[in-house]
Symmetry: C2
DNA sequence: GTCAAGAAAATTATCGATATTTTTTATAAC
DNA sequence: GTTATAAAAAATATCGATAATTTTCTTGAC
């Protein structure tokens, strides 16, 4: 028998819909995840009727979710022609990386200036949670990859939580999710070649020591490495702008 | 007799819907304009049924337009609670101004580096169009205010048209529309006190002379003046961060 | 008067049906 | 074979009806 559509999926126990207050948000989160993880390939057409069946929501709700993804630039749209997954390219990744370094260090610098005891505690806690999942990453890579992404994001967000510029934080968040897409492609190649854990630890230590210059330099290197491992994978030479 | 709703408003001769391919875009453009101009007050509730009647579109279409405005941060939303016009504040304007200077000068610097003959011609043409409407601004302020805003935007966009970083341009555009809201509030007070025309001319001359440092400094001052005139109006002391 | 609980009203969220447009396929002329 | 045109199919965009939720109003106890 056919599984009936969840009128209010968010209310059900579905793990995917955690925190989604509306079906619209639920669809947004699932689509977002599928785009970032590459299940929905860059450049591919997003046909309403097909997705409607996949995600079990009405067409208007789905359109609203897709429109929401426009804000993250994970989806592009053209009037009367529909929606597509935003394409990716090396040029775009370079642009993203450059801007992301700028936003990340801007946010970190201000956060280091303003942060209080609670902020410090948040960083240490997020680092700990990230370390725990990293222990398991080697053994069961595929299973914990999503967890690692979540905790990695949470760690970096904890570090800049005390930044009072909402626009800096907003733009940083958009660029973070953009580069997350690219990171997924280079995850396997990256693994082992870099000691990401050590990078995080160094960033944390410099941040807690309120050494803004060092923390920012380490963050820039950290972000650059995404670009480098990605371009290395594709065997394309690249110059990292400073 | 009641005027019938335009099934495809974009197709009709309505001046407001120029360039709108879908009813959704039409609603988006009208809402956007009404928010920036202050017709829809900052912080006010955006009730679907009411707006539906005003803009003559269905509820799904309207929701999609409102969701689109979320990307511009001109509207805020909360699940099951609906939509509001994004509130404004002096703190937010300061944040916007600081970020906007950064994005604008970043875009301008790169544009000066990359610009060709066509780019130069575009700037001169946009400046000319802006000057023409400024002649009329003193006499018939209210009538040409919208025109002035359009041409002012087009001038600044022409100047950074050769910037190849789409993210810089994207963020700059968002921040520009944000500050446009604030400028509307301070437009009357600003008029006469500043020689905006002279500021534009100086920016253009420095840009065409490929003097990036000067052009950027003038642009920063130009943007700062929006903040200053706004805060002056509200009699609140403010420090301009450099 | 204030607070709480329940009923009524208002509002948001969702859906699937229909209108409109774009894309594909088929046919015909050159 | 290529191009142009017309018909058919597929897809997008739009709407208003209905379900679900939030907000407001009413009533009653203290």
């Amino acid at each position: 028998m056919e599984e009936s559509a969840p009128r209010m999926a968010a209310a059900s126990g579905d793990a995917l819909s955690e925190g989604a207050k509306t079906l619209n948000e639920y669809a947004y989160q699932r689509l977002r995840k599928d785009i970032i993880s590459g299940v929905l390939a860059p450049g591919s057409k997003l046909r309403i009727e097909h997705l409607r069946a996949t995600y079990q929501v009405g067409s208007s709700t789905l359109r609203e979710a897709l429109t929401l993804l426009l804000a993250d630039a994970l989806v592009i749209a053209e009037g009367q022609r529909g929606f597509w997954v935003a394409p990716i390219s090396i040029d775009d990744l370079q642009d993203i990386t450059r801007m992301r370094k700028m936003m990340a260090t801007l946010a970190l610098r201000e956060s280091i200036k303003n942060g209080d005891d609670e902020w410090e505690a948040g960083i240490v806690a997020a680092f700990h949670r990230l370390s725990r999942v990293e222990d398991r990453l080697a053994a069961e890579a595929a299973e914990v990859a999503d967890d690692w992404e979540d905790r990695n994001r949470e760690f970096h967000e904890a570090a800049i939580a005390a930044c009072t510029s909402r626009w800096t934080r907003h733009f940083r968040a958009i660029l973070y999710s953009q580069s997350e897409r690219y990171r997924r492609f280079s995850l396997v190649a990256m693994n082992g070649r870099r000691d990401v854990h050590a990078e995080h630890q160094a960033i944390m230590e410099a941040t807690l020591a309120r050494n803004a210059d060092l923390a920012c330099r380490l963050t820039e290197d950290h972000i650059d490495n995404t670009l480098l491992s990605m371009t290395h994978m594709l065997e394309i030479p690249v110059t990292v702008a400073r």
